[in-house]
């Protein structure tokens, strides 16, 4: 026993210097968790030295803050560095227990497999709710849940035999919305807070590949409208102000009381591939009463040099993605998250959340205290998820990358995270039920 213990001690200290120089700096770690704020029951934040050095860490909890001390060294160093302990603040604001996202190959027009996956935030447990195996490798996109309830889910499946999958408890059905009413496909959904209606944008989406540019792809719509589906009658209706070739309407989002639909709208531009820089989406709103849209659309905000995507409303503020033009900000390095205040009519970037890379799709937690958003800040190509605590008054605490059991998993994953959203409980695995729909 003594020999084994001695060997273990020897092994553990192998290569580690005996002395450490004190540093007044925080350790350079990746992901950067220095000074972030995490929910009360978040899985432990794991990291590595960003320069690949070996390290040890000591964690200590003091007054609701976790202090992490890091000592780092290179192989063969006689002296290592003992960094200043850094804080990880524990918020008292709870977060939904799960997030759901799509895992997809980061490149281009085809893919090997797509999964809609859930992750428990208090652990590292990740399960696939459904994969593209179930719809014979068609594209699965734009999942949404009613009020974060995994028992009520909608997702769109493109390709042969495709359509929109509606999940209501144990009932799973496939509807091709394009064959109902105005015969328009449902793409980006927004579930009304009342539960009965879903507003969809119906997009004819294309993509072009640049010959020589840091941004390799531009995705654009040649036509888009907004339609309304009534889940009680399985009917689809349109509203004249929200359809037509003159404007491109997209990204519907309901206000919390369900009385207003926010969306984005741009003027239709001829030869859009070559004139794509002229496509600027505005933030719009239209009233909704008794199951139908009423009145004229209202312009809330526009930027002649910018474009609005993914408006998401919470506590009277609208968080959206701002890019220089177009409708697909994930490929725009300049895309950032902005807040719009309807009271003042002003919009401004949320500096705490943004980086030199892309920030794009985002969702609020059910209590409005947290957001999850996608960002390509780390390598410019693979989208990863960040969570941030809402501190109020239009400000967030420093965001942190979704932690993994082994931090190298963030490097080794060959998929991008996409369309992140919160859910209030674990979703059942839907693979078999959905596969059955496509087997018919």
């Amino acid at each position: 026993m003594i020999i084994i213990a001695a060997a273990l001690v020897l092994l553990s200290s192998c290569g580690r210097p005996s002395t450490f120089a004190e540093s007044e700096e925080y350790p350079p770690i990746w992901p950067d968790y220095v000074g972030v704020t995490v929910p009360p029951d978040m899985a432990s934040l794991t990291f590595r030295m960003s320069d690949g050095r070996k390290f040890t860490q000591k964690r200590e909890m003091r007054d609701g803050t976790e202090w992490i001390s890091v000592k780092a060294w290179n192989k063969g160093d006689k002296q290592g560095v003992a960094y200043k302990p850094f804080p990880v603040y524990r918020s008292e604001d709870p977060i939904d227990p799960y997030i759901v996202y799509r895992l997809i190959d980061p490149g281009y027009q085809s893919w090997h497999s797509i999964t809609i996956t859930q992750r428990e935030l208090s652990s590292y447990k990740e399960t696939h709710i459904v994969s593209s195996e179930s719809d014979t490798r068609g594209c699965m996109n734009c999942h949404t849940f009613y009020n974060g309830d995994p028992q009520h889910m909608v997702l769109h499946a493109r390709g042969r035999g495709g359509g929109t999958v509606f999940i209501d408890g144990d009932e799973v059905k496939l509807l091709n919305i394009a064959t109902i009413g105005p015969k328009l496909q449902g793409v980006y959904p927004a579930w009304h807070p009342g539960g009965r209606y879903i507003a969809f944008s119906s997009n004819s989406t294309h993509q072009s590949f640049t010959i020589a540019d840091r941004q390799p792809i531009e995705v654009y719509d040649t036509r888009s409208d907004i339609i309304l589906m009534d889940l009680q009658t399985d009917s689809v209706t349109t509203y004249p102000a929200l359809v037509g070739a003159e404007y491109l309407e997209t990204f519907p989002a309901w206000s919390e009381d369900g009385k207003t639909l926010y969306y984005c709208s741009a003027d239709f531009v001829e030869e859009i591939v070559n004139n794509r820089s002229q496509v600027h989406y505005r933030l719009m709103a239209i009233d909704f009463e008794d199951g139908q849209f009423v009145g004229e659309p209202r312009l809330l905000w526009e930027d002649p040099d910018g474009s609005v995507s993914f408006p998401r409303c919470r506590d009277g503020l609208i968080l959206f993605t701002h890019s220089s033009f177009g409708t697909f900000p994930i490929w725009h390095e300049e895309a950032d998250l902005w807040f719009f205040d309807p009271e003042t009519g002003e919009a401004a970037p949320v500096e705490e959340l943004n980086s030199d890379g892309t920030e794009s799709y985002h969702s609020w937690s059910s209590n409005g205290k947290w957001i999850v958003f996608s960002s390509r800040r780390d390598d410019g190509r693979f989208t990863r998820l960040y969570l941030a605590h809402y501190a109020g008054d239009g400000h967030f605490d420093k965001p942190f990358m979704l932690p993994q059991k082994n931090p190298s998993h963030n490097d080794l994953r060959l998929k991008s995270y996409n369309v992140p959203d919160f859910i209030r409980s674990e979703s059942p695995v839907r693979q078999k039920e959905i596969a059955r729909l496509f087997a018919k």
């Binding site: 281009y108 072009s208 010959i211 020589a212 540019d213 780390d378 060959l414």
Partner: protein, 471 residues
């Protein structure tokens, strides 16, 4: 050697020899398309698949196939072990002639799998045979009957027959040729590409032609040799707009050579999407290479980090990571903002013209553009394009001279070789006389032959006599 060891020894030897001498590139191709990674996502995907054990074993083994000797020995081991396991099981089940029956099974597996681009099925069969052998252990062992005298010669004949069958199987030969061309194109070994992608071989497999034109373009001899190949339409020239494993790999390599990294990466992802893991050893290597060339070191490091988790490529990936550990990404130097940068179209000619507009032309891209004009029979624009280019004395490529002669040029201003002119006169004489045999002879292996073909196609149904602007 004991006589009962002769059959497996002969089988092993035959499979190893055929694999190493007749199918080395097919083995490398398998490695290129496979993927084995010691990462959580890789294992999760494989373990949740329908054949986790065989896929894990097959993927592990395939990573070594790019060393043909090792690959051949592994293939031989798989086939031989299958024989041994089958024989062990059938012997216990007391099947008469169990050696020959097992051999027939192993030989059938060898023949069948020699035509496949994956090693998963042979590994799976080998594992099933191993399972059978294990189960057979439950049966009481009986004294083995000695093999009949004729069994060993019969086994040898059978093995050699199957070896000959595989060696001459048209599909296997085509597969090996294409793999050889692809692998050498990846390595930019253009002479080796042209050794295989000859006009004769291209008759049998038109998929070789685009590689031949790529190699000729890179060697600077496209304009002299393109129309020696059996071209029948512009579609034979490249694999534009096709979305298959073969086409996506070619398009990626083509764009790499034309220095269009965005499209090279795009096509490499498309190539990967056809593969069982959505990525492969080759894809990772190429993505590292393209991103290094593009100055995107962050992404190159990411792919190298992933490749580091491959047993075979660990040290190569580690070297890349060490070399580029501190490299800072090169900012976009193209000067084209995303809003206005030109985009790829489905028309190769337009893409090449756009590259010219962007100042990205290479000698290969210019030659490809000229060839497209000839391929479409667009002689007027071909002549105009030629007028914008400067050619050293006696250096206008032969096929271009042939095209110019058809576009009614003033011979005073063009440096046309006497031999070409003489051939052209013979050709026009034959056309004027309607001497089909002479036309065939004088137009064989040059642009005029192709031109007749496309004009015939255009005129078919109206008037079979082609018009020759130069006549």
């Amino acid at each position: 050697m004991k006589t009962k060891a002769l059959i497996p020894a002969a089988l092993f030897l035959a499979v190893a020899c055929v694999s190493i001498f007749l199918q080395p590139c097919s083995l490398t191709h398998m490695q290129n398309c496979g993927l084995f990674l010691l990462t959580p996502d890789w294992f999760r995907e494989v373990l949740s698949g329908p054949h986790p054990v065989s896929e894990t074993v097959a993927s592990f083994l395939v990573q070594f196939y790019d060393i043909p000797v090792v690959g051949a020995l592994i293939v031989a081991a798989i086939i031989t072990l299958t024989y041994l396991f089958l024989n062990a099981a059938l012997r216990r089940f007391r099947l008469p002639c169990h050696r020959l029956v097992s051999l027939l099974g192993a030989l059938a597996l060898w023949f069948f799998t020699s035509r496949l681009a994956s090693n998963q099925i042979p590994v799976m069969v080998m594992l099933i045979a191993a399972g059978l052998a294990l189960v057979s252990l439950l049966i009481r062992k009986k004294k083995e009957k000695p093999a009949a005298r004729w069994e060993f010669p019969a086994a040898l004949v059978l093995t050699l027959a199957v070896a000959a069958l595989i060696g001459t199987d048209a599909r296997t030969v085509r597969q090996e040729r294409l793999a050889k061309v692809e692998i050498n194109a990846v390595l930019h070994h253009w002479d080796k590409v042209l050794e295989v992608a000859t006009p004769e071989n291209s008759e049998k497999d038109p998929r070789l032609m685009p590689y031949a034109f790529l190699a000729l373009g890179e060697k600077g001899t496209l304009g002299d040799n393109a129309f020696k190949y059996p071209l029948t339409s512009p579609d034979d020239f490249a694999m534009e707009g096709q979305n298959t494993l073969v086409a996506n790999l070619f398009n990626s390599l083509l764009n790499e050579c034309l220095h269009v990294p965005n499209e090279a990466i795009h096509q490499m992802f498309q190539f990967s999407a056809h593969l069982p893991h959505g990525m492969s050893h080759l894809s990772l290597y190429q993505l590292i290479k393209y991103n290094l060339e593009n100055g995107n070191y962050t992404l190159a490091r990411k792919y190298a980090e992933i490749l580091k988790h491959n047993v075979k490529s660990h040290s190569v990936a580690k070297k890349v990571l060490k070399t580029y550990a501190d490299a800072v990404d090169v900012a976009d130097t193209t000067g084209h903002s995303s809003a206005h940068s030109l985009v790829m179209t489905k028309d190769a000619q337009i893409n090449l013209a756009q590259m010219n507009t962007l100042g990205m032309s290479t000698p290969n891209s210019v030659n490809r553009f000229l060839c497209y004009q000839l391929l479409y029979g667009d002689l007027e624009n071909f002549k105009r394009s030629m007028e914008t280019l400067t050619w050293p004395k006696n250096k206008i490529p032969v096929n271009y001279q042939e095209g110019l002669l058809l576009s009614e040029i003033d011979l005073v201003y063009w440096d046309i070789d006497d031999k070409v002119l003489k051939r052209f006169n013979a050709f026009t004489d034959a056309v004027m006389k309607g001497d089909n045999e002479a036309i065939r002879r004088t137009a064989l292996g040059n642009y005029w032959g192709y031109y007749i073909l496309i004009k015939d196609k255009e005129l078919s149904g109206r008037d079979s006599d082609a018009e020759f602007p130069g006549s």
